[in-house]
């Protein structure tokens, strides 16, 4: 431990020093081409205090207090003509972290003077030790690396790369900064382009091991592998990556499934896309083939040994200058279920001043390609997935409960009306049915008892003024999610004649806004907020509750920004208010420092249907980024 800390400290220091001095330079010649080297370093120091979620008997509620990390991402990229290469090295050094004995003592004291304190302490010590065995562990590892070749006709990459085929039904691995997720394929990708009889032809083939980010900076948890899940060429792609470790609480076993800190069995994937396009239409056929190892979690997706997903898409990029259209139909074959399918379409019609966007989805037994992660020991990585079926919802919607989109039919129509050069209004209406939101329905049985009907409506405006230096966007909306069969107060389906039954599964009204007011010169004032009135029959507090935030910012362009935030949540089990402040300074457009101090409420955050639960935060976070 001491050695790894020293290594991490040394590397972080080197990286930080590197970031502090200009390291973008011409490194010489490779043949006739000059070699450009760019260095980027992003450092985060985050100190967590008591985040006010402590509850009796809950190890996880005390294990997330009083820890600190120096997380560093060091990027080195080089370009020379048609060649490029890069490496990103991540290091995490936890300079302070909870001790399992102290956690067990804290919970024993919180329990009070009840019998068998020693037995209770031993139980909590075991639980705390197991919880911390893959959390707050220092690591330094090659998070991403690649060598690439790029010419007008051929592109090839060996190493890590992002990929999306179609609209994400078949394959979508990408970076989601908002969710602290960054997944790539570590392997080989080749793309060839040609023109055949006036048509564009593009063929892409890729394959390799899937490479999610291994350290979750929000929780301090890491994903570990061992020799049992890195056979063959995976031993190469997993070289240098964080390993499962044995501790006083977790014994090493020869099998990842029973090794407590072995939490990821790298998935292997092969995929290809053939695209044929003209100016009028683009047709594409794409498929992915995911190969699992022994499942570490037992849902239908993670326990499928092989998953084949394929789709055909057609895109009309220009409808005579009046819009565009897209249609994709996919099939998916899981081990334990009948084949599933998905159909997604979008149509944009532009007849100024009116623009209409219509999206529709029809999914049956169609699942995102979840990573083979051991959720019982690394729940924070639940969101790691290799596909992202479109939701036909606003990207920030976080109320698609349970497996909503695996068995659904619905769509959304959004109309934007341009009232003037700087003013527009919009309205959208979404109508969706899901048979997998209020019941576990992996088979996608579309009987009425399983059905949830959803209305999601919103309207808003976008206004700009002062040569667009001031602008305002605001949305007011509501979501009504009802079950076909009534629910009782406990959340079970009602029996005939049972009192106090309701069809309301979820209901919400909300206001979102982002207002920037230019004050003259370099000064500007900004207000951002999202205020929600919510009701959730199953899993909610029983009554309606309010939650939301407002952030007030002040900017002196281009260097300084200040912000003060207030968050609130009226659920009785949670703290009601949260306060925070942010200071940011940009030395150059690429080099900046920011300091966040204060509290942030725990929340489910979603981007395009990919969601994760963030725990409440209380502490300080310093970010320093330098690009050259």
């Amino acid at each position: 431990m001491t050695r790894s800390r020293l290594v991490a400290l040394a590397l972080s220091s080197v990286c930080a020093l590197a970031a502090g001095s200009a390291l973008g330079f011409d490194a010489g010649k490779l043949g006739k081409e000059s070699v450009q080297v760019d260095v980027t370093n992003a450092s985060t120091v985050m100190q967590n205090f008591d985040n006010r979620d402590t509850k009796p008997h809950q190890v996880t509620s005390v294990a997330n207090d009083d820890w600190g990390v120096w997380y560093n991402r060091f990027n080195l990229q080089a370009n020379s003509g048609v060649w490029n290469a890069g490496v990103r090295v991540d290091s995490a050094w936890f300079y302070t972290s909870p001790d399992p004995t102290e956690l067990a003592l804290e919970l024993t004291e919180l329990r009070g003077p009840l019998p068998d304190a020693a037995g209770y302490f031993r139980l909590r010590l075991t639980e705390a030790g197991t919880e911390l065995s893959n959390r707050y562990i220092n690591w330094i590892y090659p998070a991403k690396y690649y060598v690439g070749y790029s010419s007008p006709d051929v592109e090839a990459t060996v190493g890590d790369f992002y990929a999306q085929l179609g609209r994400g039904l078949v394959l979508s691995v990408r970076k989601l900064d908002e969710l602290a997720s960054d997944t790539t394929v570590r392997g080989l990708r080749v793309t060839a382009r040609a023109r055949v009889a006036g048509a564009r032809l593009r063929l892409t083939a890729l394959g390799g091991g899937m490479n999610p980010l291994r350290i979750d900076e929000a929780s301090g948890r890491y994903l570990g592998v061992d020799a049992s899940v890195t056979p063959g060429w995976l031993a190469i792609t997993e070289a240098g990556m964080p390993r499962a470790v044995s501790t006083d609480f977790v014994a090493e076993t020869p099998n990842c499934a029973s090794f407590g800190t072995c939490t990821y069995a790298p998935d292997r994937l092969a995929a290809a896309q053939l695209e044929l396009g003209t100016d009028a239409v683009t047709l594409a056929t794409q498929g992915s083939f995911l190969i699992r190892q022994e499942p570490l979690s037992a849902d239908v997706v993670r326990s499928s040994e092989q998953i084949l997903t394929a789709s055909q898409s057609a895109e009309l990029p220009d409808l005579g200058g009046h819009g565009a259209a897209y249609l994709e139909a996919a099939i998916q074959n899981l081990d334990r279920l009948d084949p599933g399918y998905a159909i997604y379409g979008s149509l944009t019609l532009i007849e100024l001043p009116l623009t209409v966007l219509a999206e529709a989805k029809h999914y049956r037994r169609f699942f995102p390609l979840s990573a083979n992660v051991k959720l019982s020991r690394a729940r924070e990585f639940n969101l790691v997935q290799y596909s992202a079926p479109p939701t036909a919802e606003a990207f920030w919607v976080d109320t698609l409960y349970e497996s909503f989109d695996t068995c659904t039919t619905g769509g959304r129509v959004k109309a934007d009306l341009q009232l003037g050069r700087d003013e527009s209004v919009f309205v959208w209406v979404n109508r969706s049915y899901s048979w997998a939101e209020s019941v576990a329905n992996e088979d996608c049985d579309t009987k009425g008892r399983n059905l949830n009907r959803v209305w999601d409506v919103a309207s808003g405006l976008d206004i700009s003024s002062q040569r667009r230096q001031s602008r305002m966007s605001a949305t007011i909306g509501a979501r009504f999610d009802q079950t076909d069969s009534e629910l009782d107060p406990a959340g079970d389906r009602c029996d005939p004649g049972e009192p106090d039954c309701t069809n309301v599964f979820y209901a919400e009204e909300y206001l979102r806004y982002d207002l920037i007011r230019w004050l003259g010169g370099p000064f500007a004032l900004q207000f951002q907020g999202w205020h929600r009135r919510r009701r959730q029959t199953i899993g909610g507090p029983g009554d309606r509750w309010f939650e939301g935030f407002n952030t007030t910012g002040f900017t002196i362009a281009p260097h300084l920004s200040l912000a003060f935030g207030i968050e609130y949540d009226t659920r009785p089990a949670l703290p009601s208010t949260y306060f925070n402040g942010l200071f940011g300074y940009k030395f150059t457009p690429d080099t900046s420092v920011s300091l966040f101090v204060g509290q942030r409420r725990g929340a489910l955050r979603c981007v395009g249907g990919v969601c994760r639960v963030f725990p409440p935060f209380e502490g300080a976070r310093l970010d320093f980024t330098a690009r050259f």
Binding site: P56, P115, D116, T253, S258, A298, D492, A573
Partner: protein, 202 residues
């Protein structure tokens, strides 16, 4: 009132720890006492609640003590082939969804040798579950299997509370953990249970 009920439940819970049998040495997997991973021997946790859910009430004086090893059947004399230990919490949507069908699953598989214990560990505010919560849960979902309180969340050694529900499938003959599953995944869990029952000639 809440404190009193919690006190009663805790005293009853503590009491059950003093008169339970220890695991015979031959059952200790790999020479170690107990473990929490698949393939390990399960520890003998005891709880208070209702062995017969039809007798449910919010009165702690009516509670039974129910232990994992009550279902230990090394010589196949009790009729148990498998023990499924399930967790639930009032705040947990997936747990409620799962319990919507759990009584029917149990009714179908109990004659083939499946024993089932469900442990309710927290209320809607994520505070320790109380006797009244257990009673309300049993009534709401028509529970027909042993259901107990786990206010101190002993089951936390198997999986953190956030991942509820937990389903721990245990071989009743050896008390070895066959499967540890978090979340409600009926398409995977129940075929596995049926396959394991079939392997045992049930």
């Amino acid at each position: 009132m809440r404190v009193t009920l919690a006190g009663c439940a805790a005293i009853a819970l503590a009491g059950c720890g003093s008169n339970t049998p220890e695991i015979p040495d031959e059952l200790k997997h790999g020479g170690n006492a107990y473990g929490v991973e698949e393939g390990d021997t399960v520890q003998n946790f005891c709880f208070v609640g209702f062995r017969d859910a039809a007798r449910a009430s919010a009165d702690p004086s009516t509670f039974d003590t129910v232990c994992f090893y009550d279902y230990h059947d090394p010589n196949a004399t009790k009729g148990y082939a498998l023990l499924l230990v399930n967790t639930a919490a009032v705040w947990c949507q997936a747990c409620k969804v799962e319990h919507g069908s759990l009584p029917d699953r149990y009714a179908a598989l109990a004659p083939r040798g499946l024993a089932l214990i469900s442990a309710l560990f927290e209320d809607s505010s994520s505070d320790p579950a109380q006797p009244k919560d257990l009673d309300a849960w049993i009534q709401a979902f028509g529970v027909n299997f042993p259901m107990v309180l786990d206010p101190e969340y002993q089951m936390g050694v198997y999986a953190s509370r956030e991942t509820a529900p937990l389903n721990l499938l245990i071989d009743a003959r050896s008390m070895v953990i066959l499967k540890r599953e978090v979340g409600d995944h009926p398409a995977v869990l129940w075929p596995f249970v049926e396959a394991k029952l079939a392997e045992r000639g049930r």
